[in-house]
Amino acid sequence: MTDTADRTDEIREVERIIIRFAGDSGDGMQLTGDRFTSASALFGNDLATLPEFPAEIRAPAGTLAGVSAFQIHISDHDITTPGDAPNVLVAMNPAALKAELDKIEPGATVIVNTDAFEERNLAKAGYADNPLEDGTLDGYTKIEAPMTSLTKEVCKDIGVKPRDAERSKNFFALGLVSWLYSRPEEPTMIWIREKFKGRDLVIAANEAAYRAGNAFGETAELSASRLAVRPAKLPAGTYTNINGNTALSWGLIAASHQVGLPLFLGSYPITPASDILHELSKHKNFGVRTFQAEDEIAAVGSALGASYGGHIGITTTSGPGIALKGETLGLAVSLELPLIVIDIQRGGPSTGLPTKTEAADLMMAMYGRHGEAPMPIVAASSPSDCFDVAIEAVRIAVQYRTPVMLLSDGYLANGTEPWKLPSVDDLPRLSVEFASETNGMDDEGREVFWPYVRNEDMARPWAIPGTDGLMHRIGGIEKQDGTGNINYAPENHDFMVRLRDERIRKIAETIPPLEVTGDVDADTLIVGWGSTWGAITSAVGRMRAAGEKVAQVHLTHLHPFAPNLGQILGQYERVIVPEMNLGQLTALLRAEFLVDARVISKVSGQPFTAGELVARIQEETR
């Protein structure tokens, strides 16, 4: 046995590694992935992650349905996706191997927990023969480790019962993988000690398992497989590894802080949006009120009630919830009150694929209300961008007194990336003033408050209950501009319908112009929105590196569009729009700008990979 220091020289340096941890839901793969991510982040790699859960809470152990996976891409330079085909697969049981093998790249390293490859498990996974023996893994680098038994063994010494010891086998895997890919041990050890504080046996078991994994690498002479990825050269600053739902929650809190109004969240649990409710409910000391309503309609209703009262009313949900909120959103449009409506999109239609990602709610966001009921729409493009977009949504809502739809998706919600923390001083300065004075005169010459008088942004005054002398009534029946009185006159309705449309279009005035990246003078422009940003950016990067000319533009504002979008589109011969739907933005662009935009569509519950995008863009441009 040589010592570790010695071996280090043999470690091959690579630019990037993509590892996929896969096991039974009960195997703790999400945690393992998280730990590996943390260690990599602290080490200074750029990274992106993609957790994938089964739809069942706890599907029967050992079955394909129960497989839980976590993919992480670590790199020594700026990356934007969790990677195409993984270079490494950790399979804790046969089901995991079966479910994941076709996702990884040819020649990849496959690390298996051999203990789990016994008859019952093989059968449950639907393997007639043992894939470790029948040539299934030919062409892969196979690393076989009896993780369960080795973990039990090291745990025996410290007095942990075998059944409990078994639970630590994911730390064995983590130890082994960390050794193989040169992750520092310290952060994980610290974490274990904090997390399990007071449960000394658990701490000891996990530490021992981790070290056993480490040692297994050494003893099994796996040095040939060792790789290292250097820290990335990222802009200086303090970083944290963040997922979209957390970033979104914090963005809302930040916006509330900036605008000086308390948050009120009315929500009904639904995957993958629930974590925003969970996160916000932890921050009551920020004055955040969270209300778990009886359904989605009550959720948005309560948020609207809070907005009426001068709070920033928010409602969070996923597609099915938005489908239920349509009528209330129409009311919000008519009332012209600020309201933030957050849709963490998932696979549809109907219950669809609750735990998978998709971006097919854009049209519903745009049109899912009766009558002409326009609503601004913004979309986040990466986990950390959720923070910024949340602030932008609040800005639009309070400045223009309008409900705003914010679109994110399951991929952004749970995926993570390192995020350079903004300084609080640099956050956008938002502000709003409640009305405090009368602004009209009634027939008898008395000063009164008119709720639908408009300022230069065409926004009406926000006069909250409790304000001296501004008593007024608002409602969903058509009203007269200015006075806000119920008005059924034909001309008034026509006027109001157009006014509501125009006032939303007017928001474009405060949307910064879009910037085209890549080869501005290319023939082909790739237009994206939402979470496709990472894959598109990476694909465009690869194509350009290979000498192809491509331009890219990514939209945060879906309604109204940034003011220069039409002009940009006009400059390109070919406009290609990758979307995780059947072509929703594509249709909007075609209708508005009459450009022959073409969709590259993927609706499989999975994000695009950069590789497949390159191929499909090439197909379109050939």
């Binding site: 944290t240 930040a254 921050h283 009426y308 009262g309 923390l421």
Partner: protein, 336 residues
């Protein structure tokens, strides 16, 4: 809180023309309210009426307070958000039997169980007025309406029973023919901390005229209205000769003389829900004696206050939110 100025009915009346059918019971409810408000120690500025859609739901337009005429059935949900966000306000909810019990039934029962600080007025005319006369969830079985030419089949809700089943802390009933009683119920409901439901029997003279005539007209009241009064025996009749007794078979109407005065139930607003529920069951049709008054009034944690208390406790424990600290609350690392 700002001092409450002296006001009169006129101060509480908005400048909007009242647009109910001539003769509608809604007028007398509105008048009762506008006359009552000056006596309640809240400013118009701190008062909000939230309603859904329906004839009844027009109510907020006529009150010179803050108000929202929202959408059908959702007023309890909207009001819940407002009351939670702004515990300083006095939030009233008004709606019809369709609005609150049909499309809005779920929001109502959840607001009741949560005990949100709302004063909820349910104008029960046993019909859909605004949509011109379909039967409602409180209409009697066999009702012939536009949508039920052969008679309706649905067994009606008893709003009092439903509210009690939904864990309401304050439940009362009154009717549009008795301004004093209405005002007393509104006043009591308003004073209650938490969700207070008042069912108001309201005559829709266009589509369901006289629905309550058999019990609310002056000369019928003695025999047909059982006026519940806390601490008093539950008795009624011209000579107070009838009363209510609790047995293993529930609440029974008896002749006091037959059973003896001491067997008569003494009304206790704070008693077990079962008794209030049994009382609510006495009015199963338009021809049987019907209890009015406060069925139940008990103290329980008010929702908005409890929510605010959690905010205060969180601040107490963790200090006021510090944004910079929040951003650094997950593991961080520095790149230089």
């Amino acid at each position: 809180m700002t001092a409450v100025p002296l006001t009169t009915k006129k101060d509480w009346s908005s400048d909007q023309e009242v647009r109910w059918c001539p003769g509608c019971g809604d007028y007398s409810i509105l008048t009762a309210m506008q006359l009552l408000m000056p006596e309640i120690d809240r400013r118009r500025e701190d008062t909000v009426f939230i309603s859904g859609i329906g004839c009844a739901a027009r109510f907020p337009y006529y009150m010179n307070t803050y108000g929202m005429h929202s959408i059908h059935g959702r007023s309890p949900a909207i009001a819940t958000g407002l009351a939670m966000a702004r515990p300083d306000l006095d939030v009233w909810v008004v709606g019809g039997d369709g609005d609150m019990l049909s499309i809005g039934g779920n929001h109502l029962i959840h607001a009741l169980r949560r005990n949100v600080n709302l004063t909820i007025l349910l104008f029960n005319n046993q019909i859909y007025g605004l949509t011109k006369g379909q039967y409602s969830p409180t209409s009697e079985v066999g009702k012939v309406t536009k949508s039920t030419p052969m008679g309706s089949l649905d067994h009606p809700f008893n709003p009092i029973s439903l509210a009690l089943g939904a864990e309401a802390t304050f439940v009362a009933r009154t009717h549009d023919m008795d301004r004093g009683h209405m005002q007393e119920m509104f006043r009591r409901a308003h004073a209650h901390k938490g969700a207070a439901l008042v069912e108001v029997y309201q005559n829709c003279n266009v589509f369901n005229d006289g629905a309550f005539g058999a019990i609310t007209k002056k000369d019928a009241r003695d025999a047909m209205l059982i006026d519940l009064k806390h601490g008093e025996p539950v008795r009624f009749g011209a000579e107070n000769e009838r009363g209510v007794m609790i047995t293993d078979d529930g609440a029974q109407i008896v002749n006091v003389a037959d059973v003896g005065e001491d067997k008569i139930l003494v009304h206790d607003e704070t008693a077990d829900r079962g008794i209030a529920f049994a009382l609510s069951g006495l009015a199963q049709d338009r021809e049987s004696p019907t209890p009015i008054g406060v069925f139940r009034a008990v103290d329980r944690q008010e929702y908005g206050e409890a929510a605010s208390a959690q905010l205060a406790a969180a601040q107490e424990a963790n200090g006021p939110g510090d944004l910079d600290m929040l951003l650094r609350s997950l593991p961080t690392w520095d790149v230089s």
